[in-house]
């Protein structure tokens, strides 16, 4: 339980940055809050506002958010096996299926996966949404460019990226994704470079059997 509260507070700090970044990208306070309430998966939310903020179209913004949300699908498969829920509770559990809740459920002692999942889910959901509101309202009363909030969004993506680069092939994929984006920015509409960068995954040849 204490871990769940700790995670909730850390997520709150991240939610503040999201709320402020969403305003810097041109979203209204209700739009920023709707993303946190309904989408509730940080990297996808940042991707959606990142594409919109860069002037990208709605379709690329949605596609980018969806591609970043695919890992939640695999988390859900793992959680379904751990928690063995039935019926409508799976719908509620689905909304709470994110990095933090999966990590807590998977890391909990035998028999406590359910408690880890629901406690973390409730703490993160509450803190994430409250912080988004605070950040979005706060950013509305200041000059976001003068405060460097546009630079903060880039750093936020880097902060999300670094923990996921765990080996050399992931580092190669990251470098290739960044390079593809640099090449694509001048020749494709905003939003498309991010989607094209997904091709960098092919560099790691994931279809090759691994030892």
């Amino acid at each position: 339980m204490r871990d769940a509260v700790g995670i909730g507070l850390a997520v709150g700090a991240y939610g503040l940055s999201f709320g402020a970044a969403a305003r810097a990208a041109g979203l209204s306070v209700p739009q920023a809050c709707a993303l946190s309430l309904l989408m509730f998966t940080g990297a996808s939310q940042f991707a959606l506002i990142g594409v919109l903020g860069a002037g990208g179209g709605g379709l690329s913004a949605v596609a980018g958010a969806g591609l970043l949300g695919t890992r939640n699908l695999l988390y859900a498969v793992r959680l379904a096996d751990l928690l063995r829920l039935r019926g409508g509770r799976r719908v509620l559990a689905a909304q709470l299926t994110i990095d933090e809740t999966t990590a807590m459920a998977a890391g909990a002692p035998v028999g406590l996966s359910g408690l880890g999942f629901w406690a973390t889910g409730a703490a993160v959901y509450g803190c994430w949404n409250a912080a988004t509101l605070l950040g979005a309202v706060g950013a509305g009363v200041v000059d976001t460019t003068a405060l460097g909030l546009d630079a903060a969004v880039g750093a936020a993506f880097l902060g999300l990226l670094v923990p996921q680069v765990r080996d050399r092939s992931a580092l190669g994929v990251a470098a290739c994704g960044a390079a593809l984006a640099v090449l694509a920015i001048p020749v494709t509409p905003p939003g498309v470079p991010v989607l094209l960068a997904g091709l960098a995954v092919l560099l790691a040849r994931p279809w090759r059997p691994r030892p």
């Binding site: 700090a13 940055s17 209204s28 739009q31 709707a34 993303l35 309904l38 998966t41 991707a47 959606l48 594409v51 903020g53 860069a54 002037g55 709605g58 949605v62 980018g64 958010a65 969806g66 970043l68 949300g69 695919t70 890992r71 939640n72 699908l73 695999l74 859900a76 498969v77 959680l79 379904a80 096996d81 799976r90 719908v91 689905a94 909304q95 460097g148 630079a151 903060a152 969004v153 880039g154 750093a155 936020a156 993506f157 880097l158 902060g159 999300l160 990226l161 670094v162 092939s169 992931a170 994929v173 994704g177 984006a181 640099v182 920015i185 001048p186 960068a197 960098a200 995954v201 994931p206």
Partner: protein, 100 residues
């Protein structure tokens, strides 16, 4: 228009989460699928960093945002918490702009 994007994006992300709860696990047990799904966010996030820090519409520009990112990267290397990384990046860009 922004509302449509917000709601469509939220719906897509929810469907992805729910699908994982409903499909039989063996359909996604293939390690190659897992590996690709693990690496996809890495590629997209790296591109998002570039777009956010260097992009100006269809152009590339090195400005205070890049300095902010470098400062944020330094904070990350020192194992600073997420909020500190973000604040350091913002403050660096803000100070450079104020000085210019």
């Amino acid at each position: 228009m922004t509302w449509l994007t917000v709601l469509a994006g939220a719906a897509l992300c929810f469907v992805l989460k729910l699908a994982g709860w409903l499909v039989p696990a063996r359909l996604l047990a293939d390690p190659r699928i897992r590996r690709a799904a693990e690496l996809l966010p890495v590629a997209l996030l790296a591109a998002l960093v570039v777009v956010q820090v260097l992009g100006v519409g269809r152009g590339l520009q090195v400005d205070a945002r890049a300095a902010g990112l470098l400062a944020g990267a330094a904070a990350l290397a020192l194992r600073a918490p997420f909020l500190v990384v973000v604040v350091v990046a913002a403050a660096t860009a803000a100070l450079l702009r104020a000085a210019a």
